[in-house]
């Protein structure tokens, strides 16, 4: 049994990491701390997952989130997709193994992967709306979020969701509040079979090795760890029975990487930002390429264009000085 975390403290406890541990900050530069904190990671062992949704339940309760009661559309997945309240969902896939002809019910807990190289953060134009701590946690700072939806397009895993209520982006925080006091995320704490465990990234990798060995002994020749290098590795990793085919697990990307356009945009914003008006033109183009029609409605686009045409850069100056 993987040793569980002791019960949480009820006396006020000093946070173990915070502002001083930021290594990245959206649309701004930070001075990385001299010493990086030990990297943490959550390991999701799909082969041990029983799809019970305890993680979903614990996530909603711990984070005081209110999800709407939905409908059944003919599958076990509920809610059907990630939402601003459902920061994690189980995705169920009925897959017939072409070699054995046996049915395998692949159940994957979906949610933020906490990429080492976070596409959301890189795409985010709002200063400080997305931050990355030196322990690897990528967090959204809602005060700074402008709800543009670029993080959604920047994310190779299609994770963030924009709330219709407050127009801000939401995703899993890896329970940064719990980790800050030495606890694991609520989902990992709850997981009945310890399919979800949490610890240092090194610990998780070595735990995964043991699990992979067990799976190989049971005939899963391609069992392996999902820690995709295309995003610099992730702080949420999977043990998969068929690591050679991650896409069979409800479309887990085979080789996720940040869209090159995000880098392009970053380059432009960093260096062309001084000339706000000129950059805006570039940005508008990039916006439609990167964000597409995802979270930004056509009406918004039109209005934005109209406003931009009529008001020029005054608006931004005004806001920046208030």
């Amino acid at each position: 049994m993987f040793p569980p975390f002791p019960n949480p403290p009820t006396t006020p406890t000093q946070a173990r990491f915070g502002e001083g541990d930021l290594i990245r900050r959206s649309a701004s530069s930070v001075t990385p701390p001299a010493q990086r904190q030990t990297e943490v990671a959550k390991l999701i062992d799909v082969s041990k997952c029983i799809g019970c949704k305890a993680c979903q339940s614990a996530c909603l309760e711990w984070n005081d989130l209110h999800e709407e009661v939905g409908v059944n559309v003919g599958v076990y997945d509920n809610p059907l997709d990630l939402t601003p309240a459902s920061l994690t969902v189980m995705r169920f896939t009925e897959w017939v193994n072409p070699e054995s002809q046996n049915l395998e019910w692949l159940i994957r807990k979906d949610g933020c992967m906490h990429c080492e190289d976070p596409g959301c953060l890189k795409a985010c134009p709002a200063p400080g709306a997305i931050v990355q701590y030196s322990n690897g946690i990528v967090d959204f700072v809602h005060e700074n979020c402008i709800g543009c939806g670029y993080c959604v397009k920047g994310c190779p895993f299609n994770i963030p969701r924009i709330s219709k209520v407050d127009e801000k982006a939401y995703k899993c925080t890896l329970c940064s509040d719990r980790v800050a006091v030495g606890q694991g995320p609520a989902c990992a704490k709850a997981c009945p079979t310890q399919a979800i465990v949490f610890g240092t990234k090194e610990q998780m990798k070595s735990h995964a090795d043991g699990r992979i060995k067990d799976l190989k002994s049971r005939g899963f020749a391609n069992a392996g760890l999902y820690d995709p290098p295309g995003v610099g590795g992730t702080h949420v990793m999977y043990v998969l029975h068929h690591a050679d085919k991650p896409e069979i697990y409800a479309g887990l990307p085979n080789n996720p990487r940040i869209s090159p356009l995000v880098d392009l945009w970053k380059g432009v914003s960093r260096y062309a930002g001084f000339a706000a008006i000129g950059a805006f033109a570039v940005f508008s183009v990039l916006h439609s390429v990167v964000a597409g029609r995802s979270k930004v409605s056509e009406e918004d686009e039109t209005n934005a264009k109209r406003l931009a045409d009529h008001e020029g850069s005054n608006g931004s100056q005004e806001r920046a000085s208030t």
Binding site: M1, S47, K48, C49, I50, G51, C52, K53, A54, Q56, S57, L60, E61, H66, E67, E68, V69, G70, V71, N72, V73, G74, V75, Y76, N78, P79, S86, E94, V96, N102, L103, E104, W105, I107, P192, T193, Q194, A195, G210, R211, D214, S217, R218
Partner: protein, 810 residues
Amino acid sequence: MTNSWTDIKNTDLVVVMGGNAAEAHPCGFKWVTEAKASRGAKLIVVDPRFTRTASVADFYAPIRQGSDIAFLLGVINYCIQNDKVQWEYTKAFTNAAYIVKEGFAYQDGLFTGYDESKRDYNRSTWDYEIGPDGYAVVDETLAHPRCVWNLLKQHVAIYTPELVERICGTPKDKFLTVARMISECASPTKTMTSMYALGWTQHSKGSQNIRAMAMLQLILGNIGVRGGGMNALRGHSNIQGLTDIGLMSNLIPGYLTIPTEREPTFDSYMSTRGFKPLRPDQMSYWQNYRKFFVSFQKAMWGDAATAANGFAYDWLPKLDVPAYDVLRAFELMHTGKMNGYFCQGFNPLLSFPNRRKITAALSKLKFLVVMDPLQTETARFWQNHGAHNDVDTASIQTEVIELPATCFAEDEGSLTNSGRWLQWHWAGGTPPGEAKHDAWIMAQIHLRLKELYRKEGGPVPEPILNLEWRYKDPDEPTPEELAKELNGYATDDITDPNDPTKVVLAKGKQVVSFAALRDDGKTASGCWIYSGCFNEAGNNMARRDTSDPDDTGAFLKWSWAWPVNRRILYNRASADVSGKPWDQSRKLLEWDGTKWTGYDVPDIAPNAKPEVVGPFIMNPEGVSRLFTRGMMRDGPFPAHYEPFESPVVNVVAPKVRGNPVARVFRNDMEQFGDAKEFPYAATSYRLTEHFHFWTKHSHVNAVLQPEFFVEISEELAKEKGIKRGGTVRVWSKRGSVTAKAVVTKRIKPLICDGKTVHIIGIPLHWGFMGAARKGFGPNSLTPYVGDANIETPEYKAFLVDIEPIAGPVA
């Protein structure tokens, strides 16, 4: 459970059949994944559906619901044919060698003594041959043709892999893989655990499903050992406790029985409860029955229960029928023979079969009292909720009183888990509104009823007026006071038999355990098997020491387990005849030459010599039973019977419908459907996102599984033109429901006796109250018939028809 949740980590093979542990008991199931991860254990799932338990199994085999006995007897047959038997265990620790009376036989699906008009057996031949010394005759060579072993061998011989496939629809190769994996556990150093639940009990032959697996476990030597056992995964947090304390029509706490009217006096009652050993030197622990019974009567009626009045024997009601179980209760109600009914934390409108009959029955009551923390459907059976409860409110004359009760978080006391651990918990929240503890409510009802009898008089007032009720605050007995009564105490000074001047237990002191209980009225104990839970050492149920020497999973200092803190029942059988553990790496107990030592409280007298005293101390034989004598109504061996509503005829006994001795009330037989009219085999179950009819009141759980659905195969969906997520109507002879359709590869049509059998899965969590969407439950459809021995309704196998309809569900 014979074992405990934490013991499952010690197993080599987990068989989940008749249950769905990963979904219904996820946190207990962690010990399965732990056994797999840490010791390479394997998991087999046998189920009509590919469940979430199956999703993490090493091997899955499909089976048609209601055919488990054929499958299990097939495995027993396989083990016998392939000499995969733990012989030393089977010979020494079971009744394999016992000779059965001449005249016993089994033919055409029936045992000797069947009387069709009574739907019952004369069981006189179902017994051992008794020798002139008064003991059962045995043949240790197993050569005698009528010894249990040879009768068993003969009984199971027909259940070949081919017949299993024909009955169960399990492809022969899959059956053989399961049989082979199981049979390997005949090795003394390999063990298998059986985890089952209502998938086995909710059949008209539910008890025999379980017996079949118990017999298999015995011949494999897996009872009493670490990582083995018969593990019934109880459904509710304290249904083990409620059963232990005997809240059933025919029980007295601790599995004593309520007298029948054929036992008019205390002496006549005791005359059939002597439990004389059937073999020399056996403990036959029920010989202490009188001590437990008298102590119970003293706990009930205190000083008013005296030797002179037979310890108030007359004040116990005497039964005229075997039991007033819930099916009989609602039958009585339905025929207008009941006036009042209380539901304490129970929702029969959704729980009992044939909902239409349940509604009609409740409508005939004069009064219904519901005490519950939640607004149940039962308390609102008279409200019209459109299609979901279409009743004529004005015509229902039942007075309904709803009383708000506290929930777990606001209450203190002990709950008994599936592994028999009594765990104390404390209240952490203020009750909402005017909600009150159930114990307070019960006290109020008693005190007010007593007051009326004192003032007005009336028939048989004595048992009410004299009920022991000396609590500090009679209005609300505290959990500690009640727990102390359950444990038991001295009602008088108890002296040393060798020195009458020496008081060994002063009046009012708690007894240490049931070993201290007496049949002379000097002790009282509400529930003898709970004796030891709260003795002079304090509240043992509140213990929280997590030490576990050598990581056996026993946790002897955590809470308290009945009986006498024993964690694995029959644990003496973990060692061979001489007392040496079968498997040193899984040592549990060992005979050290003078006494039993080890990791658990021995399930035998500590100094009982291993070669003399048998390990099954509750049985007069001292051994376990492969042949149950006349103790079960439907046979000393399990035999294959079809459900009352089956898609195929019984190929073993074509003339027999259902279980031949299951009780069927007069008008219910006509309400059974047949396969011509209702071609599909339905089954009911829980989903992991919900708990019964409670979590639909919890918003989070309503989110996780919001709406009633049924599950069908892609093949059936195609045949009937049903689309995934579409709306369907499902109906039986008794009712109709509408639901969303989940079309899945996880259910496959089975071929049984050459016929394609389609399976329809119907989960049970929806109603018309709570946070989830309004929906139906399987009980609108299920037949009104129960298990032949204990009347568990046949929820797991019945017939329906299905059609797509225009959605959405209202």
